[in-house]
Amino acid sequence: MRLSDDALSRLRESIRDPDLSGTRYRLVGPVGAGGMGAVFEAVDEPLGRRVALKVVDVPLDGEEAAAALLAEARVLAGLEHPGLVPVHDAGRLADGRAYYAMKLVRGRRLDEALAGSSLPERLRVFLRVCEPVAFAHASGVVHRDLKPPNVMLGSFGEVLVLDWGLARPVAGAADASGTPGFMAPEQAAGRPVDARADVYGLGALLDAILRVPPAPARSKALDAIVGRARATEPGARYAGVPALAADVERLLDGGRVEAYEENVLERVARVVKRHGVAVGLVATYLVVRGLFILLRR
């Protein structure tokens, strides 16, 4: 018997859709797919609230995938921060698939949300991405997969770092999984990583959001920040996310960036730009005073 494409597609969907019988959830529909599973919108019936369910992709999938999903749920549950999606519940479905329930976030992925935004707006959003990552590091967890699709901007301006499926304890991870282009060289080589792997990932993320069209003009100082964050050697990078964020804040504030050695002219131009009004008023005062002195002569 041959099945039509439509029938095959419906069959695939019915297999993929989780069997929520015996749980407190009622399926609404698919939301998206992650690295190790699919995300569905569901209703938490007793509480009457919408939640997101992340479920391992295929029924009766290997124990390894289930363990990985539950490990991700445990990592997220241990990190309570406004920039992280709270986990409500975790377990197994009737079809054997592992799942966890989390807050349903509505919004857009970082690069889509930042299209058309100004450079300061992009940098301010980037700083907000740094916050939960720095918090995770302080809690002993490295994300290891920071990239635009894993950051979401919510409808109310909230910035959320998602997909902690590759997260590991600091200095405890030693596998080469990650996203090429966003993964630190030591991670790609399968060596143990620490917080500086996420500094690399954030550098790549910053580079990516600066390239979102229409790409804003980038100063040498900004390029230097990206360059230091993405240095091949971990020792040449920022020591941690707070140091990276502090340099971006200095750039936003018109201050001297640690990653960039400016020459005298650049320094003068930066100071004049930063203190333009004060410099203008002092210059006006000096001109007025000078004119009166000249007129008196």
């Binding site: 009004v277 004060a278 008023l281 006006t284 005062y285 007025v288 005073r289 009166f292 002195i293 008196r296």
Partner: protein, 116 residues
């Protein structure tokens, strides 16, 4: 640095600078020390008043207006003592007041930031 301290420092600095410009007027050059001291005191007074105002009123435009007014009034007082050069004294004096007002709001920390 709080706004009052910024006002005092900027006021004193600009006041001293304002006084030093008297050196370019040969007839008063012998009294330069007194002029600089008087001008610095005037700057300190203006800085204190503007700093206190900036601390109470967290509005840049209002502080700029207040600073200019304080600079004008104090410069008018100085010009009145001399009985001459009103425009020559009051115009730079008002710019100094404006600059002090701007500096207190731009570089001084507000009450909320100090409390944090």
């Amino acid at each position: 640095m709080n706004k009052i301290l910024v006002g005092l420092l900027v006021g004193a600095g600009l006041g001293a600078l304002d006084g030093l410009t008297a050196w370019f007027t040969p007839e008063v050059r012998t009294q330069i020390a007194t002029i600089v001291m008087g001008s610095t005191f005037k700057g300190l007074l203006a800085g204190l008043l503007i700093g206190v105002f900036a601390r109470k009123v967290a509005s840049v435009p209002a502080t700029l207006v207040f600073g200019t007014a304080v600079g004008l009034v104090l410069a008018f007082a100085v010009a009145s003592l001399q009985g001459a050069h009103y425009f020559e004294i009051m115009l730079p004096g008002s710019i100094v007041g404006l600059l002090t007002g701007y500096a207190t709001q731009r570089y001084g920390r507000g009450l909320r930031a100090e409390a944090a």
